[in-house]
C-alpha cells in the first residue's frame, strides 16, 4: 500500500489533488454516497436471505418444545377449543385471527375470573400430579435438559415451569403468566429486546435469586408506560422480587398485547420457581436446532433419547409431548387438530414449506428496497462521476504546461493519459473507501432501525470498491484523453 502511494504516478496524482482540496473533497463525497448506497443495497439483498432465517428463528421455526406428560388438552374437534388449548398456539396465531370472537376473552384478559378465561393447565396438572398425566409419571427433569444439550445439532436448551400469577406493586396488581425459565431464553427468543435492564444471570439462576424480568405489558400496567422499573420491587406469592429488566418485541411483526404469552408475562429463574413452589421437575424443555431444516431429525433424536432415559418400553406410549412450530403452524392453519396432527406426522420436512412462504414475502420486500437503493446509487455515482470528470478537466487545464514539460522529457501520450486516469481513480478510490465505511455504518443502521438483517460481505466491499474505481476510469477517460492529445509545444507555451 505504502509502495503504491509512493509510486511516482500515484504520488503525483495525490499531490495534484491536494491543490484543489475542496473540489476534490466534494467530488469524493458523490462517490462516497454512491458506493455507500451500492454497499447498503447489496447488504440489504444479502441480508434478506439471512433475514428469512432470522425471522424463521424469531417465529420459533427451529424450536422444539418437549412437555412433561403425554398430556393432551381436553380437545373437542371444535375450533373454539383449539383456541383455548394453550398459550403456545395462541402466540402463533395471526394477530387478526386473535381478534376473532372465539379468542377475544383472552385478549381482554379480565381479572375478575381469571382462571376461567386463562384456560392454562396449572403446573401441578401438567406435572402429572393430578389427572393430567394420563397415567405417566411427572418425568421432565433438569438432567433431561442437560442430556438434550449434548445432542449434536442442538443450539440452546432451556427448561421451564409455567404458572398463572398475580404480580403486585403496592396495591396495584396484574394477573399474568409466570415463566420459570433458563438464562438461555433471550438467545432462543431472538425477537426479544430489552427496553430496560437485562435478563437474569447465570449466577442469579444458580442461587435461585428472587429476581424477575417483566414483559412490556406487565411493566406498562404496573409502572405506567415509559417508566423504568429496573431496580424496583414487586411481589409474587407474598415474596419480594427485584425487577431486573423489561422485555419487548424486537420485530414489527409481533407487538406486545395483553393476554399474549411472551410480553404479558414475567420471567424468573426456574430454580427460583422450583424453590418457592417446592417443585423438583420441569413443565417443559425448549430446544432450538442450529438449523431450522434440522428440526425433524432432531425431534426424532430427542424422542429416542428421552424414551431411553425414561426407560419406556417399545410398546408403551411416550411420557412427554413433542411440539414443533411446524406442527403448531398446521394446527392454527384452520385444519381440525386431528387432521393437522395426521398431516404433521406425515410431512417430515414440513418446516421447509413454511420457510419457502416466508422467503417469498421477504424477497418481495427486499426487491423494492433494492430498486430504491439502486436508483440512489446510480444517481450519486453519476453525479460523482461527472464531478470527477469536472475536477480532472480542471486539473488538465491547470497543468497544461506541466503536461507539455513531461512530454518534452519523454512522456508518451499513454503516460500522460495514465497520469490523469490515475488521478481520477485516486479520487474515486478514496471516495470508494470512505463509501465502504459509510456503507457498513448505514447497513448496521438499516439493520437496527428496520429490523432488517443486512450482510456486508468482503466480496460486496470489493465489488463496491470496483464500482468506484470503474466510475473513476469511465469519467476520467475523456479528460485524460484530452490531456494526452495536447501538442507539447502548445502546452509548453500556455501560461
Amino acid at each position: 500500500m505504502r509502495a503504491l502511494l509512493r509510486h511516482p504516478v500515484v504520488n503525483t496524482a495525490i499531490k495534484a489533488l491536494g491543490r484543489n482540496r475542496l473540489q476534490t473533497g466534494l467530488t469524493m463525497l458523490g462517490i462516497t454516497v454512491g458506493v455507500a448506497t451500492v454497499l447498503a443495497m447489496m447488504a440489504v439483498g444479502a441480508g434478506a436471505q439471512r433475514s428469512i432465517e432470522q425471522q424463521v428463528r424469531a417465529a420459533g421455526l427451529n424450536q422444539i418444545t418437549i412437555r412433561a406428560g403425554n398430556w393432551r388438552p381436553k380437545v373437542d374437534e371444535s375450533e373454539a377449543a383449539v383456541a383455548h388449548q394453550g398459550d403456545a398456539r395462541d402466540s402463533l396465531r395471526h394477530p387478526l385471527e386473535r381478534l376473532r370472537g372465539d379468542v377475544l376473552p383472552i385478549a381482554f384478559h379480565p381479572e375478575d375470573d381469571p382462571m376461567e378465561k386463562h384456560d392454562h393447565p396449572t403446573a401441578r396438572q401438567r406435572l402429572g400430579d393430578l389427572e393430567a398425566g394420563l397415567g405417566s409419571a411427572a418425568t421432565m427433569t433438569f438432567d433431561d435438559a442437560e442430556a438434550l444439550r449434548k445432542l449434536p445439532g442442538v443450539q440452546y436448551v432451556a427448561g421451564g415451569i409455567h404458572e398463572n400469577v398475580r404480580v403486585y406493586l403496592d396495591k396495584k396488581r396484574w394477573f399474568t403468566r409466570m415463566h420459570g425459565t433458563d438464562v438461555m431464553m433471550p438467545s432462543i427468543k431472538r425477537a426479544w429486546t430489552f427496553t430496560a435492564g437485562r435478563f437474569f444471570t447465570e449466577r442469579e439462576q444458580d442461587r435461585s435469586s428472587q429476581v424477575i424480568v417483566l414483559g412490556q405489558v406487565v411493566a406498562d400496567r404496573l409502572f405506567g408506560v415509559g417508566a423504568n422499573p429496573a431496580g424496583e420491587e414487586v411481589t409474587l406469592w407474598n415474596q419480594p422480587f427485584e425487577v431486573v429488566g423489561v422485555i419487548t418485541s424486537a420485530t414489527w411483526v409481533v407487538q406486545p398485547a395483553p393476554g399474549d404469552d411472551q410480553f404479558d408475562a414475567v420471567y424468573m429463574p426456574y430454580t427460583t420457581t422450583q424453590r418457592l413452589l417446592n417443585l423438583s421437575k420441569l413443565n417443559d424443555i425448549t430446544v432450538t436446532a442450529e438449523s431450522s431444516g434440522d428440526v425433524s431429525r432432531l425431534s426424532r433424536e430427542i424422542t429416542k433419547l428421552l424414551r431411553v432415559r425414561h426407560g419406556i418400553g417399545d410398546n408403551e406410549a411416550d411420557d412427554f409431548t413433542l411440539i414443533t412450530q411446524a406442527t403448531k403452524a398446521l394446527t392454527t392453519g384452520g385444519l381440525p387438530p386431528s387432521v393437522a396432527r395426521a398431516v404433521a406426522s406425515n410431512v417430515a420436512e414440513l418446516e421447509k414449506v413454511t420457510l419457502e412462504q416466508l422467503a417469498l414475502t421477504m424477497e418481495r420486500a427486499s426487491r423494492t428496497m433494492t430498486w430504491l437503493l439502486a436508483a440512489v446509487a446510480a444517481v450519486s455515482l453519476l453525479v460523482g462521476g461527472i464531478g470527477i470528470m469536472n475536477i480532472t478537466l480542471l486539473s488538465v487545464t491547470e497543468r497544461t504546461r506541466e503536461i507539455g514539460l513531461r512530454m518534452a522529457v519523454g512522456a508518451r501520450r499513454r503516460d500522460v493519459m495514465r497520469q490523469f486516469l490515475v488521478e481520477a481513480v485516486v479520487i474515486s478510490a478514496a471516495g470508494g473507501l470512505a463509501g465502504i465505511i459509510v456503507g457498513v455504518i448505514a447497513s448496521v443502521g438499516i439493520a437496527r432501525t428496520l429490523q432488517w438483517a443486512t450482510v456486508v460481505s468482503p466480496l460486496s466491499m470489493l465489488l463496491a470498491f470496483g464500482v468506484a474505481a470503474a466510475v473513476g476510469v469511465f469519467f476520467g477517460w475523456y479528460p485524460a484523453r484530452r490531456a494526452s492529445q495536447l501538442d507539447p509545444i502548445v502546452a509548453l507555451r500556455r501560461e
Partner: protein, 248 residues
C-alpha cells in the same frame, strides 16, 4: 550529429499561411556548441522544436545521429526526446511544490525500461545536480531558489538521462547578466568535459559568443553561419573556466 535538409514549416491560421521556416539546410557536428541568433519571429524556436523532436517539419529531412526522425511516430519521438535530447527553457518549467531533486528525477519516470526505481533515480538526480553545483539545494522547492539556481536545476533535469544533445531556447532570457554568464559557463563546461552537443538560442551577442559557431536566422532562413574565434569575445572568467575544463 544533426543533419537538416531543406527544412520548412508552415502554420495555417484560417486561410492565412505563416512560413515559419523556408528551407533550412545545415549540419551540426558532435560536441559543437551552436548558438542561434536572430530577430523575434524569425523561426528560431520553430527550428529548435523540430531539432528537439517536439514538432515535425512540413517538408524536408531531419537526420539525428544517422537516423531520419522527421517521420517517426509519436512514441518513437518521445523516446528520442527522453534518451538523446535534453531541453532547457526560458521559463525554467520546474514543477512547483516539488523538490529540486524530484524535478531532476522527472525524465527517469519515462525511460524505455519504464519508471527507474527510486534509489537509482535519486542517485542519478544527485549526480546531475552535482554537475551544476546544486547538491546542497536538492530538497529545496523552486520557490526557494533564485532564478539562476532554478535554471541550473532545469539543466540538471536535462542532463539526468545523459543525452548527447542539449537544446536551450533563450535560457538566459529571464536572468540577469552575471547569472546568464554562469549558466553559459555550465553549458561550455558540459560540452568540453562530456562532449555534449549544445544548441542555444539567444538574443544577446555576448551570450552567443559562448558558441563555437553562431547562425543567424532571418525570416525563416539562415542568413549567416560563422565559427567563433572562441577567445577574444569571451569574458575573462568564462575563458578561464573553459581553459580549466580543457586541461582537466
Amino acid at each position: 550529429m544533426i543533419d537538416v535538409h531543406d527544412l520548412a514549416k508552415q502554420y495555417h491560421i484560417g486561410d492565412h499561411v505563416v512560413h515559419a521556416l523556408r528551407g533550412v539546410t545545415m549540419s551540426v557536428a558532435a560536441a559543437e556548441f551552436l548558438t542561434i541568433v536572430g530577430p523575434s519571429g524569425s523561426g528560431k524556436s520553430t527550428f529548435m522544436h523540430i531539432l528537439g523532436c517536439l514538432d515535425r517539419p512540413t517538408t524536408g529531412r531531419y537526420v539525428l545521429n544517422g537516423r531520419d526522425v522527421s517521420t517517426l511516430p509519436g512514441d518513437e519521438l518521445a523516446r528520442v526526446r527522453n534518451e538523446t535530447i535534453g531541453f532547457v527553457f526560458q521559463g525554467f518549467n520546474l514543477l512547483a511544490r516539488t523538490s529540486a531533486l524530484e524535478n531532476v528525477e522527472l525524465p527517469l519516470l519515462y525511460t524505455r525500461h519504464g519508471v527507474v526505481r527510486a534509489a537509482e533515480r535519486r542517485d542519478r538526480a544527485l549526480a546531475a545536480l552535482d554537475a551544476v553545483g546544486l547538491t546542497d539545494r536538492a530538497e529545496h522547492h523552486p520557490s526557494q531558489l533564485s532564478g539562476g539556481q532554478q535554471q541550473r536545476v532545469a539543466i540538471a533535469r536535462a542532463l539526468v538521462t545523459q543525452p548527447s544533445l542539449l537544446l536551450a531556447d533563450e535560457p538566459t532570457g529571464n536572468l540577469d547578466t552575471s547569472t546568464s554568464h554562469e549558466v553559459m559557463e555550465i553549458f561550455a563546461r558540459l560540452r568540453n568535459d562530456r562532449g555534449i552537443t549544445i544548441v542555444v538560442i539567444t538574443h544577446e551577442r555576448d551570450i552567443a559568443a559562448y558558441g563555437t559557431r553562431t547562425v543567424d536566422f532571418r525570416d525563416g532562413l539562415i542568413v549567416s553561419d560563422v565559427p567563433n574565434p572562441f577567445d577574444s569575445r569571451l569574458p575573462r572568467n568564462a575563458r578561464e573556466s573553459l581553459a580549466q575544463g580543457k586541461s582537466a
